[in-house]
């Protein structure tokens, strides 16, 4: 099994996640795209772990998952709070600092 196809797939997924963060308006979907980017980097870590023959990459991927779980909990709580006050989950509506 070669390494390059896995890394290329990871790069493609990361790019899709990036474009999603830039284009989507719904805060929850933006968050999902961030998760997609984290997952893509995890794939790269696991692949490099296999390429190098040690498990450090897998441990790093494990830590990424833990941090992602914590981040999702806090992020979704923030989205909920914003939705409660503004009745909207759109990232464009939270623009009070502009004025």
């Amino acid at each position: 099994m070669s390494v390059t196809p896995f890394i290329v797939l990871s790069a493609i997924l990361f790019t899709i996640g990036c474009v999603g963060v830039l284009t989507r308006r719904n805060a929850i979907v933006v968050f999902m795209c961030v998760e997609l980017m984290l997952n893509a980097s995890n794939l790269a870590l696991v692949t490099f772990s296999r390429a190098n023959g040690n498990l450090d990459g897998q441990v790093a991927a494990f830590f990424v998952m833990v941090v992602a779980a914590a981040e999702v909990v806090v992020g979704l709580a923030i989205i909920m709070t914003i939705f409660r006050t503004r009745r909207s989950a759109s990232v464009d509506d939270a623009s009070l600092l502009k004025y």
Binding site: V29, S49, D56, L76, M80, A89, D92
Partner: protein
């Protein structure tokens, strides 16, 4: 490698669907497809522990949390197509394409050589080997992780907590309110009548009949009445008559039209 070539197109298509789906729920389900495919790729690449964690933590916990919040926020809270910044979408797609081309070309030019493989590292099993690493070299990071998780849990509790502005209604106050309504506006204090139960219909779209044969307005859900799916009483009478083949009008004469509600 077969698994990779089967899953890679599925993953890319599902990830693109994440960009183009109008509804957030569809995006969440497509993300689930990507995550489960990733889990299988982990299993292919000698990472059985991460395979399980990916399915349990990511697909099981994180994605379900996403769906919970989607249900709370409202499923039909879809994206607006109006651009706040003019040309932002085109610009970001171009930037994304450029970034992707840069990444893919850069990665493709590097020669990684042949993979060493994890057979030696996974010698005593993947999970013991990972645990060995986690509790020796990465033990400090592991401890810090616990602080992070506690902070996240506390933060979510603080953010999601809502102060109650009015006192919680008790059973006594609710009963007093019902009696006050009855005294002031004559609203019936008891429960609403249940929907009708007839020989052929035992459904919520069938109104109950009052003693004079008219339909009881309170027995039908307001939503059904607004949709116009409530069965009118003469319809039911006709239905029953066609079923029994009896055209005696003893029962239907008493039943007046109740469809006006």
């Amino acid at each position: 490698m077969v698994a990779f070539w089967i899953l890679a197109p599925i993953m890319v298509v599902a990830a693109l669907g994440l960009l183009f789906s109008r509804k957030a729920v569809h995006a969440a389900l497509l993300l689930a497809v990507v995550m489960i495919s990733l889990a299988i790729l982990y299993a292919v690449q000698d990472a059985p522990f991460l395979f399980a964690v990916q399915i349990i933590v990511y697909t099981g916990a994180i994605l379900m949390l996403f769906l919970f919040v989607l249900m709370l926020v409202g499923v039909d809270a879809s994206d607006s197509i109006i651009e706040t910044i003019r040309g932002q979408r085109i610009a970001s797609i171009l930037v994304g394409l450029g970034f992707g081309a840069l990444l893919v070309l850069g990665v493709a030019q590097v020669s990684f050589g042949s993979a060493v493989g994890l057979d030696a590292a996974n010698d005593g099993g993947n999970v013991p080997a990972l645990a060995q690493l986690l509790f020796t070299r990465y033990v400090f990071a592991f401890e810090v992780t616990s602080a992070l998780l506690i902070t996240a849990a506390l933060g979510a509790m603080v953010l999601a907590h809502r102060e109650r502005l009015s006192p919680k209604p008790t059973q006594a106050s609710l009963a007093a309110q019902r009696m006050r309504d009855f005294a002031e506006s004559g609203k019936h204090p008891g429960p609403l009548p249940p929907p009708g139960v007839f020989a052929r219909h035992n459904a919520v779209d069938t109104p109950a009949l009052l003693p004079d044969g008219t339909a009881a307005p309170g027995s039908i859900s307001r939503v059904l009445a607004a949709r116009g799916t409530v069965k009118s009483v003469p319809d039911i009478a006709d239905d029953v008559r066609s079923f029994t083949g009896d055209d005696s009008t003893t029962s239907s004469a008493a039943i007046t039209d109740g469809s006006d509600q």
